[in-house]
């Protein structure tokens, strides 16, 4: 075929469409009207609208995404697109689920709350699986990592909607100092100018010409940016709006370019010019394919050049359908009938003239009772008098039940709305934010007044242009409507239905039943019937539901109120909201200056916060973690080991009052600590619970360097800053995070002194010159390093602090100088094992936010003479001084071949019944447990009730398979309790 058609498949059959066609317009072009099945009753459904408000025509696109629930009325076709109808099996025409329609009388509103309750176990095994099988519309999508980006805008004015009002507003702002963003959800600007015949000309120009010229003017104004194919979905506080732009209009998806762009807009003023949405009327079988909203029908004609049907019946309760009538007759098509609810006297003369001129039957003061047909409209019943119904054959019925200003965004902004008795709808009343509504969204349905409205409402903006335009309007100038929400059925039947929510299959009967059962509040009604909870959020029907309900309750609609319009305006894909900070960019990997060395030396990494830390180093590919850790630990205690400790937090603290400050932040006292000495320090929260620990180095009374845990680094600095700024602003103290300015190596083991002396041959590392818990600064190459003698392993040890640039070189130098000494690089797991052997705690493992220093036997770390420090007062509360609190103890299995599992509980009972029926009394839990390669048995720490007094006694530890292991309660220091190795 040599035409320039775009070919796509729908349910396996190939069709051609035009460029710019949506799936819906292309299907209509091919005379396909039946496109899907409904949610609950599996009734045949067609194309109801021509846009975002579509409740029915949801399809699945079969491609790399398998995107479900795509609105056929929005999504544009591309060459080779494969489209499938949803919620039917095995095929659209023969659908097994349509049996539900027969059962519909018992599937009444909320029926599931009243049954499926017994017998016991049936809900889980029988009913729910059955219900779940019927769940959902489309099938799950496939994994496809599309690239969606976010773009932030900071502007002065945002205009939502590039239709007539939006364009005029933009014109008013063109060339001014305001930064303006104009957004339209269509692929072209113009709105009703493009979609209807409502305006004949503007300033004596054809509407299309006017739109083009205006767009050109806006584009050249430099202060206005236009975004098309972009839908504003969310209106947050402080004029923060979110919109998504479809970048793949008419293109298949790829994962190279962004498919969707999420625009996050912060603006000073928001102009909502986003128009209105036509609503329907409920009548019998108002869901049949072939029923379509009138303005949508007209949009297909003008925007897509498709006439869905040449001789439809038009059914209206208002003046707007003139435009559709005019569009049809101008093309030489003749509607089969024009049904108007209103009295002939009330129908506008322009409409009457057209009807007469083209000899179109008018049924005034009449209504559609219903329509019939298999898989589509074939016959329409018109109630022309109270008891007289006539039937006319037709395949399409165009309905207009009036218009709703599209107030979704306005209410999201928390603006107040009010009911308008002449328009029979809600319209904006009072803005809450800097929000201006223009045109039909503001409830102004009269084009004559539009220029005046815009000039008036935007005059407060500085330096704006004065608009002077003349609009030549086709047909009735004033919008007129008569209330009609629902028409009466001819006969009462179990199966006849008028729908109020097409997507969720909610009927007007359901509404009545809900009210009968007491759900007379609109939110209850919504939740009980699921009305307006579909993917369209009841855009064409929710006001109708209010109309029907208020009639039943005999209240006015304002009293009934609306449900809350919840963002987003229209569904937005998760990946668009997530943006680029996902997949490979989900969260940063923080790397130490030695990261590459670790990778090259077969480190297996552990995630500690955002940091990547070597967990252990694999000596050879078959080495297990246990083997590696045992090897590393053993080696270190025999010779020496080196750990990359660069992730530990480091805070430099300085100021006249630094000493006072440090004394308040930590439990320990630093007053008597000599300069160039260090102390292991505990930090508490104000609740007295251990928050962090680390080593604090005192340079002098005005200058300290504190280290923190890796995970606690940011919090500790923030904690210090908070107290310094808010509680003691008069204290002269400053702190900088220097975590990233120094790499840290921890070298420990009996050979560490030899290694250090070889690497730094001009430094005296002897016990006298370099005692435990002191530090010194040295020049190294052209920089400075700091060496601290400290240990977390219980062995002789040193910590080196060096600027990152020099780190790798020094690290390699250390290995070079210790090549005959079996220096072993070790990771965090070995560090944990070694410190556990020594009985040192890890904050966050041996503590959990409920542990005080007293519970940890760390009373010695509390500066007794200090009047105050953070958390001190809490330590004397009644529950904190209770003797029977959980206290840290050591555990050793009586049978040394048994391992103790971390996280298991310490109990007094030897035997556990299985299954456990009655709670077993637990004394506490195992916080740390490792197999000690040095001692050749498990060593564990546990927090147990009254632990201090239980030392020496025998207890049991549970296992994950609910056995127990007898253990002895011991002190926590398993190795070298006298610290001889460390002080070597």
């Amino acid at each position: 075929m040599s035409d320039n058609k775009i070919y796509f498949k729908f349910d396996g059959k190939r069709y051609g469409g035009n460029e710019g066609d949506t799936i819906a317009s292309a299907l209509l072009r091919n005379n396909i009207k039946f496109v899907g099945r409904s949610f609950k009753y599996h009734r045949p459904r067609g194309i109801y609208t021509c846009g975002i408000e579509e409740p029915n025509a949801l399809v699945q696109i079969i491609n790399e995404h398998n995107e479900p629930n795509v609105r056929a009325t929005v999504k544009k076709i591309y060459e080779g697109m494969v489209v499938k109808s949803q919620n039917r099996w095995p095929s659209l025409k023969r659908d097994f689920g349509s049996i539900n329609n027969l059962l519909s009388p018992i599937f009444s509103a909320g029926f599931y709350y009243k049954t499926f309750m017994g017998p016991k176990g049936f809900w889980k095994k029988v009913y729910e699986p059955l219900i779940r099988r019927t769940a959902g519309l489309g099938k799950p999508p496939k994994e496809f990592r599309s690239k969606s980006i976010h773009i932030h805008h900071n502007v002065d004015v945002l205009i939502v909607g590039g239709g007539l009002s939006g364009l005029l507003a933009a014109k008013k702002l063109a060339g001014t100092d305001h930064d303006v963003l104009l957004i339209d959800r269509d692929d072209c600007l113009g709105g009703i100018l493009k979609n209807t015949k409502k305006i004949k000309s503007i300033d004596n120009q054809r509407t299309n010409t006017w739109v083009e010229k205006t767009e050109w003017l806006i584009k050249n104004s430099k202060n206005i940016k236009i975004l098309k194919n972009t839908t504003v979905t969310t209106y947050n506080f402080d004029n923060h709006l979110v919109a998504f732009e479809d970048k793949s209009v008419g293109k298949p998806p790829d994962n190279i370019k962004p498919e969707l762009v999420l625009h996050k807009i912060r603006t000073k003023h928001t102009i909502l010019a986003n128009g209105h949405i036509e609503r329907f009327i409920s009548f019998r079988n108002n869901d049949l394919p072939g029923v379509m909203l009138a303005a949508s029908f007209e949009k297909y004609i003008h925007k897509y050049g498709v006439v869905p049907d040449q001789n439809p019946i038009i059914f209206t309760n208002n003046s707007s359908t003139f435009s559709l009538l005019k569009s049809l007759v101008d093309l030489g098509h003749k509607p089969r009938a024009y049904v108007d609810v209103r009295d002939q006297k009330k129908i506008e003369k322009e409409t009457l003239e057209l009807l007469t001129k083209y000899n179109i039957p008018l049924y005034a003061k009449s209504e559609i009772e219903g329509c019939d047909g298999k898989n589509g409209v074939q016959k329409v019943s018109i109630r022309i008098k109270k008891n007289e119904i006539i039937k006319i054959k037709t395949s399409m019925l165009c309905v207009s039940g009036g218009f709703n200003p599209d107030i979704h965004l306005f209410t999201q902004s928390k603006g107040l709305i009010k009911w308008d008795d002449s328009l029979l709808t809600f319209k904006p009343d009072k803005s809450y934010q800097n929000t201006i509504t223009l045109g039909s969204v503001s409830g102004n349905f009269s084009y004559e007044k539009l220029i005046g409205e815009i000039n008036k409402k935007l005059s407060f903006l500085q330096g704006v242009n004065h608009l002077e335009s003349t609009l030549d309007i086709n047909g009735p100038k004033k919008f007129q409507i008569k209330e009609l929400w629902e028409t009466k059925h001819e006969k009462k039947s179990f199966w006849s239905k008028s729908f109020i929510d097409l997507q969720n299959d909610v009927t007007t009967k359901d509404l009545k039943q809900a009210i009968l059962e007491g759900f007379n509040r609109i939110e209850h009604l919504k939740r009980f019937t699921t009305n307006s909870m579909g993917t369209d959020q009841g855009k064409i029907s929710s006001i109708n539901a209010l109309g029907i309900v208020s009639k039943i309750l005999k209240k006015n609609v304002s009293e009934v109120g609306t449900t809350i319009y919840r963002p987003p305006y229209t569904p937005v894909s998760f990946s668009a909201i997530a943006g680029r900070s996902t997949y490979e960019f989900y969260d940063p990997e923080r790397k130490t200056p030695l990261h590459t060395w670790h990778v090259n030396n077969n480190a297996v990494f552990e995630d500690v916060g955002q940091w990547k830390r070597p967990w252990y180093f694999k000596k050879h590919t078959n080495e297990t973690m246990h083997e590696a850790v045992q090897r590393e630990s053993k080696q270190l205690r025999e010779t020496a080991g080196i750990l990359d400790g660069s992730t530990l937090g480091k805070i430099e603290i300085k100021g006249r009052d630094a000493l006072t400050f440090i004394n308040l932040m930590y439990t320990n006292s630093f007053t008597k600590l000599k300069p160039m000495s260090a102390r292991y320090a505990l930090m508490l929260g104000e609740d007295g619970m251990v928050k962090d620990d680390g080593i604090v180095c005192k340079i002098n009374d005005q200058h300290f360097i504190a280290t923190t845990t890796t995970g606690g680094a940011a919090n500790v600095l923030a904690h210090m800053e908070e107290y310094a700024q808010t509680e003691w602003p008069d204290m002269n103290v400053y702190m900088n995070s220097i975590t990233e300015q120094f790499a840290t190596f921890n070298i420990s083991g009996p050979k560490s002194r030899v290694i250090m002396s070889r690497v730094f041959n001009d430094i005296d590392f002897s016990n006298d010159k370099f005692p435990f818990m002191t530090f010194q600064n040295f020049n190294y190459l052209d920089t400075q390093i700091r060496i601290l003698r400290a240990s977390f392993t219980g062995e002789l040890g040193y910590e080196i602090y060096i600027p990152p640039k020099y780190a790798l070189r020094l690290w390699q130098r250390i290995f070079f100088y210790s090549r005959d000494l079996d220096l072993v690089p070790y990771g965090t797991e070995t560090m944990h094992l070694l410190r556990a052997e020594k009985g040192y705690i890890i904050v966050g493992q041996d503590t959990d936010g409920t542990v005080t220093p007293l519970d940890l036997n760390l009373n010695w770390m509390i500066g007794k003479k200090k009047k105050d420090f953070i958390g001190k007062r809490s330590l004397t509360r009644s529950d904190i001084v209770r003797e029977n609190r959980k206290q840290l103890v050591g555990l050793i299995p009586l049978d040394k071949t048994y391992g103790i599992e971390e996280g298991q509980h310490v109990i007094e009972k030897e035997n556990l019944s299985t299954p456990i029926k009655k709670p077993v009394e637990m004394l506490g839990h195992v916080t740390s447990s490792y197999f000690s390669p040095t001692l050749k048995h498990s060593v564990a720490m546990a927090l147990i009730r009254g632990g201090k007094r239980k030392i020496g006694s025998q207890l049991y530890v549970s296992t994950s398979d609910l056995n127990t292991i007898p253990v002895e309660v011991v002190e926590t220091s398993f190795i070298d309790p006298k610290n001889e190795r460390m002080l070597l």
């Binding site: 932030h152 990997e589 940091w611 100021g655």
Partner: protein
């Protein structure tokens, strides 16, 4: 200076700059101590930057400044500077030279950065010779508006991630 990405009216390069993070009261004694060392008075207006041919000096908040060496100094000299400043007990000067620095130039730099940050880069809100601390690509950054470019700094542990994000954004 290494170019890490370019095209579409943007060029991003990585650079190394010696930097000192200064804390202090900002009073006369503070200014004097600093001035003695670098012959430049610290800017007194918040978020302001001043510079001479050797230094760029930015005030980050009421008690915090960052000082960049525009001409590379010897390391010893930087350490000497820091230690002289620290001699004043009411000043904390920390060597911040191990911070990752990027320069972003080109006429589309604002549009480009709008893919990575909500920060309002319009010249009327973020004029030349001012600085800001904000989030770019979810990372804490400082951004300095120089005549025709932005200087962006972040902690070096985030460097790989940040670079990847910078490159990614240019392509999308």
């Amino acid at each position: 200076m290494t170019i890490i990405a370019s095209g579409k009216g943007i060029e991003i390069s990585q650079t190394e700059l010696q930097q000192i993070l200064l804390r202090g009261k900002g009073d006369g004694s503070f200014a004097e101590t600093i001035n003695k060392e670098i012959s430049l008075l610290p800017p007194s207006d918040n978020l302001r930057m001043i510079s001479n041919d050797k230094f760029l000096f930015a005030k980050q908040s009421f008690d915090q400044w960052s000082l960049f060496c525009l001409v590379e100094e010897s390391n010893e000299e930087i350490l000497r500077l820091i230690s002289s400043m620290n001699a004043n007990e009411e000043i904390l000067a920390s060597d911040y030279s191990h911070t990752s620095c990027f320069e972003i130039t080109g006429e589309n730099k604002n549009y480009y950065l709008s893919k990575l940050t909500h920060f309002d880069l319009r010249p009327k809100k973020f004029p030349v010779s001012t600085m800001a601390q904000t989030l770019i690509a979810r990372i804490d950054c400082s951004i300095y508006h120089l005549e025709d470019k932005y200087l962006v700094t972040c902690h070096s542990s985030f460097e790989d991630y940040f670079k990847d994000r910078l490159q990614d954004a240019i392509n999308l």
